[in-house]
Amino acid sequence: MPLPADKTDCENEPVRRQVPSLDVDPFSADYFENPLRVHHELREAGPVVWLGRYQCWAVARYTEVRSVLHDWRTFCSSRGVGIQDFAKEEPWRPRSPVLETDPPQHDGARAVLNRVLSPAVIKRVRQELSLVAERRIDELLQRRNIDAIADLAEAYPLSVFPDLVGMPKEGREHILPTASLNFNAFGPNNELRRAAFATAAPHMSWVMESCKSTNLAPDGFGSQIYAAAEAGEITTDEAALLVRTLFFAGVDTTVNAIGAAIYCLASFPTQWKKLHADPSLARNAFEEAVRYESPVQTFFRTTTQSTEITGAHLNEGEKVLMFLGAANRDPRHWERPDEFDIERRASGHFGFGGGIHMCVGQLLARLEGEVVLSALARRVSAISINGQPKRRHNNTLRGLATLPVTLHAA
């Protein structure tokens, strides 16, 4: 990597040289197929690593990821949580009022979402979501040979979440491509990102149209967000963008988490047997799958001032890439990090992020994961993989495109 001619960067270079530098590409096809080797390299290189290829810092150990997530004053989100710095480049879409803001702007919008997705609300939908999951598993058992991704990991969230939000019934086939676009857009301008943008127009126009208050069912999460705007808590523009955030962030993430859980349980029959014997482990099994596979792999922050992380000096206005998936398997924090153990105390992982931006839909995601795994555990005696699973490549999300399995009835 040639040294940048810019004066500030030259001044900084001696300091950077003390920090290990790696030439890995966490946005490449090879990485998406197997990120674990790169995670290991990053963690072992040092607490902070310079990624010359993308001119950004990386943290991959538990302690440093936690420090960055929890210090929003120094590591802000308002300059974008992807590689783009909003101070230098226009965001590709109007920024999210929660994801891409800092306090105090962040807090009003976050308070609204906290309420719309509160434990009390999630408790009320538990029985319904549980019934839908049981019906879905019964249907799949009739077919026996299924694609666990399309037929379950995608089909289940798509059968509950859009209705909870109150999305229009027409055009829901746009949901997954839109979400995939959104998560690809956090990465560099690579083939994946360009391909996503090349086909984005019809998906985006459906989303923008569907987020309008007049197109949302009156009793869903979407309408409740608009009600908060009417009450003066947020502006109407913010309400539209918050609904859009639910569209973007509420489905694909859960799809990949449920897919990860089924993949793990099918790959580790001993763990499946434990779950089958005691379906009350379903919730913890889902949590462990989120730790183990980390469906959301990475997010960026931007420094608001010069700062230090474990001895490394960072200048103002630099991007820091947090490897959530690597921290979730850091042996400095986790015992037997590479073992999938559904009885592990997995709490404290960063699969849902951490700090003030921690996933606002985590309770709903956990509920969806729990009821699917619980229904599987009670109705299915074994899940066997009967074909080659395929990865789906995305600049932020880790998951499968297909997972052919046979379900054996209990």
Partner: protein, 107 residues
């Protein structure tokens, strides 16, 4: 080091010495206390570290934040006047001897 007493629904007691500044959810995790889940890792978002603080000691604690209050409305077990989230109680010398009772469920 200040001491905290966790009481299980069946009356079993665990006494733990907790460093000041550590919250009661983290302390429970460190001491492997059953019955406190803490799914969100102490971010005040999941309401799975619900505890009942001894009524005689409840006034020793700082008031609940709005976020904690809202989350307590959604706890799995009954919400009572002395309900708190363990992740929102930071240990301090003045809380030495604090007794918290665990609800029968968190989810």
């Amino acid at each position: 080091m200040p001491r905290i007493v966790y009481v299980q629904p069946d009356g079993a007691r665990d006494e733990c010495d907790v460093e000041a500044g550590i919250n009661l959810m983290q302390a429970a995790a460190v001491h492997a206390i059953e019955g406190i889940v803490g799914e969100c890792g102490g971010n005040c978002m999941c309401a799975t570290c619900h505890v009942y603080v001894d009524p005689h000691q409840i006034d020793l604690l700082p008031a609940r934040s709005e976020a904690e209050d809202a989350l307590l409305d959604g706890v799995a077990a009954e919400r009572r006047a002395n309900s708190r989230l363990a992740c929102q109680i930071n240990m301090q010398p003045a809380l030495d001897g604090l007794i918290v009772r665990l609800p029968d469920r968190q989810i």
